[in-house]
């Protein structure tokens, strides 16, 4: 079980979190229909490092951005969405 370092709550077990989506499949409200197709259906699904959205559902409830390796499950970075890039 993965260990995710929540910036608010500290390191917590994966069971407290929900995977939401890859960051590249976030669809802006004013997106075009073509962009909706790209974001929703033509995704990267990388074998390797990926930016993902997770939510600490059973904790602070906050959405977090994870830089995670989809093969080794290494987590290089966990940040708040409003953190400076």
């Amino acid at each position: 079980m993965q260990l995710i370092a929540c910036p608010h709550c500290g390191p917590r077990a994966q069971a407290e979190f929900e995977f939401d989506r890859a960051v590249d499949s976030v669809l802006a409200l004013d997106a075009s229909p073509a962009e909706a197709v790209t974001r929703l259906y033509e995704r990267e699904n990388p074998k390797g490092w990926s930016w993902e959205l997770w939510r600490h559902s059973a904790g602070c409830g906050v959405f977090l951005k994870l830089h995670r390796h989809t093969v080794t499950h290494e987590i290089a970075e966990v940040s708040r969405l409003d953190a400076a890039p």
Partner: protein, 944 residues
């Protein structure tokens, strides 16, 4: 083979005797004995029959890798099949039985297959029954009788299993010399250490050897280490197996607090599953010896050399009187010395190497008949034990008589956890071993598991002698896979090791090929003419050793399997003894039958009550969210696909929400309960999804909006009061100005309880939803019962609600909102917000979702006879489905039956006649396609 107990030595307590039974016969052993050691000491040779050929099998090993001596243990619900006799420590009252034999172990009819029949080759079932279905039908009965490993328990397991979490700096797996040393040095550095050992005692291989370690006898060294570790507060768990190495250095441990089949003391748990998160993991898991490939190498009396030494030195059991040692390495020579010192005659040492310069071999040559270039071709014997063997000595045949054959084909480091953690292996061509190479997590492998015992191994042990009878040379003993099976798979074109594994079942037994995988791989590599690493390895999967399902389930069984959520009115419902319907985790009344009413008749009566008088239903479980802040309306316009911004204070509206792909996700109502404050409802089952969705919109899509969301699903308990007399009933409890108009709200008091009244209708009648804080709702329900009785009112359940909403043509999440339907499909598109600021709007503009052609559209269905639920819509029976029924019911006040469903291009096919056909229910009905609102289409009944 006649085993016997030595007078001294080992770590068994000869002063005490334990009585147990095996196949109904009484035996004796000592504390510290395994079932295998105790039975060997009693002279037992035959322990069971093999899986496929029912060949006689004895004990091969002295550990968890045992493929042969599998027994059933325990009584009733505590019965556990396929327990390794070598991994089962005896206790008073132990009841064990042999497996795969009928009618008895010594006379087994199934063995006829092995004696007279041709061996069942690899892929037998695929070939024999391919394209001949009738043949399988005929033989299935016999094959099912013969198949299977052990028998399952027939009663529920009465024991408790517990889950526990732990954290440490260093987790050391395995308490042999390497593991103990690692724990000593880590604890000396002040680290928080956990040490786990699958055996009942720490010490590992030291119990097998007679050599000193660091100038001390093995047992003294162990005692000293234990004292030091205890003094430093190291947490030590014995009889605890690390079964899985998971992500981010989490290791699961299976701790046996009692032996399989043993009754725990009152109130105590039988086993405990630990989830340990360690900063660092030291894997000191040792190595497992491999057998040698030759004909009849599975006969009782053929044992691994290290196992023989373990029985002599640890258990004080000499498993034979005349022994031959067959080896490819130096280590097995120790077994010859141990046997001879214990009084067993060592007939010969057969070494497949041409020479060895080591001291122990020289010493052995001086004492025993040591032969080089010697390979065993065949073991001789049967269920009664071994009688001798045939070998080849430098090209010359040799025959020896013996009752014990100790074999060593080298060792395989136990790299299972290292591999589960994502590590890689390194192949040593000389020793024929895979040892851990690159770790992926914070793991380090030490001792024999790291290849530290490679000196005890040689790749020679992996090669079968030329001319050996491959059909009787076993590789995987538990699954009865022979060299010939691997050869056959290769001849038939199987090249991938994963395919060969599945075709032959090599390594797929409960021992997961601990003794067999490398031998099988070497055979495949030889056939391919490629080095072993290029042939590849199969995946190492948890658990390392078999675990009972009860351990994995823990306390999550029976009524503890899942939480039960009871709405605040649960106790009042319970008094009425309703039929319950679990809705998600919620318990909701389905109907309140009176007398001998059935579900259907009760629901129809309740529905008539609503249509003719007044009924009340518990709607506490609906999803409810309060949305507040200056941008609350703007936020809701993003979540809801309908217009919200112009909603006046005190008013409400039906709404629905879309997923990002334009499909309808949920529906409910939205109410403006304050200037900048809204209440949004959703379906019961969709409430958790909606909570996540709202959080996503607020945090990710529209973080600039000033809005706060509170999930108030459990804060507000609710009752819907519906029927032509609903207003009359409410007027008895609420002063007139307090009764809101349709789609308006009011705050008032009922039975002294502050309530929020929302006038909205799901049933199609004049209706009010009354909300109060949690259990405060109880007096409101009681008031309704008291005041509503003389109006002919009664409570109604979900079944009546379903009948009412179908007749009214209202959609439901999970019915018509099925995760595939667009607003157009559900005929909701006229309500869409034309400004389209909402989620799902971009995807909804796609042509495929805009055009109706070919899509399933919601329709109503009418019939004179009952319309089967879940049936398909066809022109003729049988026929190609053109749609399906989502919900069906009887009309409440009129004759006839109605249903909602989806039909391809259905909105253009009104008036058409089709069949609703359910082949699974063997039912059908002739239906007419109509508009889906069957009752009061003008909506006169719920308005004032």
């Amino acid at each position: 083979m006649t085993g016997s107990r030595t007078g001294q030595g080992g770590i068994i307590d000869r002063s005490r005797t334990i009585r147990f039974t095996f196949d109904g016969k009484l035996y004796h052993g000592h504390p510290g004995d395994t079932l295998a050691s105790a039975l060997l000491a009693e002279g037992l040779v035959l322990f069971g029959r093999s899986f496929k050929y029912h060949r006689p099998r004895g004990v091969m090993s002295a550990g968890v890798e045992e493929p042969n001596a599998l027994v059933g243990v325990g009584i009733g619900g505590r019965f556990e099949p396929n327990t390794r006799a070598t991994d089962l420590f005896i206790y008073e009252g132990l009841v064990a039985e042999s497996q795969n034999r009928w009618p008895s172990l010594s006379f087994d009819l199934g063995a006829v297959i092995g004696l007279f029949g041709r061996f069942v080759p690899a892929g037998f079932y695929y070939k024999a029954f391919l394209g001949k279905p009738g043949l399988w039908t005929f033989y299935e009965h016999f094959i099912r009788r013969a198949a299977g490993l052990g028998r399952p328990p027939v009663k529920p397991d009465p024991d408790h299993y517990e889950h526990r979490a732990a954290f440490c700096d260093v987790l050391v797996v395995g308490a042999g010399p390497a593991g103990l040393s690692a724990a000593l040095s880590a604890s000396a550095a002040g680290e928080r250490v956990m040490l786990v050992e699958q055996d009942i005692a720490v010490g590992g291989g030291l119990h097998r050897e007679s050599e000193d370690i660091e100038g001390l006898p093995g047992q003294a060294w162990i005692a000293q280490a234990l004292t030091t570790l205890t003094g430093r507060g190291v947490s030590m768990l014995t009889r605890t197996t690390a079964i899985g190495y998971w992500d981010h250095d989490m290791v699961t441990l299976a701790q046996k607090l009692v032996e399989p089949g043993q009754v725990p003391e009152d109130g105590q748990v039988a086993q405990r599953l630990w989830r340990v998160r360690a900063k660092r993991v030291v894997l000191a898991t040792g190595a497992i010896e491999r057998p040698l490939p030759f004909a009849n190498n599975d006969r009782p009396g053929v044992m691994l050399a290290q196992a023989v030494r373990t029985y002599v030195n640890r258990f004080g059991v000499v498993p034979g009187a005349r022994a031959v040692v067959a080896t490819c390495n130096d280590d097995a020579y120790r077994t010859a010395f141990a046997l001879a010192d214990a009084g067993c005659e060592v007939v010969a040492i057969l070494d497949s190497r041409s020479e060895s310069p080591s001291e122990i071999v020289k010493a052995a040559a001086a004492r025993f008949n040591v032969q080089f270039d010697a390979q065993v071709l065949e073991a001789r014997g049967g269920p009664g034990g071994l009688t001798g063997l045939a070998a080849r000595l430098g090209g010359q045949p040799l025959s020896l008589s013996c009752d014990l054959l100790a074999v060593s084909g080298g060792v395989s480091p136990v790299a299972h956890l290292h591999m589960q953690a994502g590590g890689t292996l390194n192949w040593n061509e000389t020793t024929g071993t895979f040892a851990p190479d690159v770790p992926r997590q914070n793991q380090v492998t030490v001792g024999a598991a790291a290849g530290g015992a490679e000196g005890n191994s040689s790749a020679l042990g992996l090669t079968a002698p030329t001319g050996v009878d491959a059909r009787h040379s076993f590789v995987d003993f538990q699954n009865d896979v022979t060299l010939a099976d691997i050869d056959l798979a290769w001849q038939e074109g199987y090249r991938s090791v994963e395919h060969v594994k599945r075709y032959t079942t090599l390594g797929m037994a409960t021992d997961q090929g601990k003794t067999s995988n490398i031998v099988g791989l070497a055979r495949l590599a030889a056939l391919e003419g490629r080095p072993v690493p290029q042939v590849g390895l199969t995946t190492f999967r948890p658990p390392y050793t078999p675990v009972t399902l009860g351990l994995l389930a823990g306390h999550a069984t029976g009524k503890h399997l899942a939480v039960v959520r009871r709405p605040p009115l649960y106790d009042l419902h319970l008094e009425q003894q309703p039929l319950w319907l679990p809705s998600g985790h919620w318990m909701r009344p389905r109907a309140y039958p009176r007398g001998d009413e059935t579900l259907h008749s009760a629901a129809m009566r309740e529905a008539r009550t609503v249509r003719q008088a007044v009924g009340w239903v518990d709607v506490s479980t609906l999803g409810k969210f309060e949305i507040a802040g200056p941008d609350a309306a703007a936020f809701l316009e993003r979540v809801c696909a309908t217009t919200v911004a112009r909603l006046a204070q005190g008013r409400g509206r039906y709404t629905f929400m879309l997923r990002e792909d334009g499909i309808v996700m949920d529906d409910g109502t939205v109410w403006r309960i304050g200037p900048e404050r809204y209440l949004l409802t959703s379906s019961t089952g969709g409430a958790d999804r909606m909570a996540h969705h709202l959080a996503y919109v607020r945090q990710v899509l529209a973080p600039e909006l000033k809005v706060a969301i509170a999930n108030v699903q459990e804060h507000w308990a609710g009752i819907a009061v519906a029927g032509p007399k609903a207003k009359t009933l409410l007027a008895r409890m609420v002063p007139d100005p307090g009764i809101p108009r349709h789609m308006s709200l009011a705050r008032s008091k009922i039975a002294g309880v502050p309530v929020l009244i929302l006038a909205a209708s799901y049933s199609g009648e004049r209706a009010f939803e009354i909300y109060a804080a949690g259990t405060d709702i109880i007096p409101v329900w009681q008031a309704l019962v008291a005041q509503g009785a003389d109006l002919g009112g009664s409570a109604y359940g979900l079944e009546a609600l379903e009948i009412l909403r179908i007749e009214k043509g209202h959609v439901v999440v999970g019915g018509e909102i099925d995760g595939r339907a667009t607003p157009h499909d559900l005929r909701l598109h006229r309500m869409l917000n034309p400004a389209a600021p909402f989620i799902g709007a971009p995807a909804l503009q796609r042509p495929a979702l805009q055009s109706s052609a070919g899509r399933l559209r919601m329709v109503g269905l009418e019939s004179d006879s009952p319309i089967p639920e879940g049936s398909m819509l066809v022109s003729t029976m049988p026929g190609t489905p053109q749609g399906h029924v989502t919900g069906a019911g009887q009309r409440v006040l009129q004759k006839g039956h109605v249903a909602l469903g989806f039909l391809r291009d259905g909105d253009e096919r009104l008036g058409e006649q089709l069949m609703a056909w359910s082949p699974t229910r063997n039912a059908s009905a002739r239906v007419t396609i109509v508009d889906p609102v069957f009752y009061d289409p003008e909506g006169r009944r719920y308005r004032d």
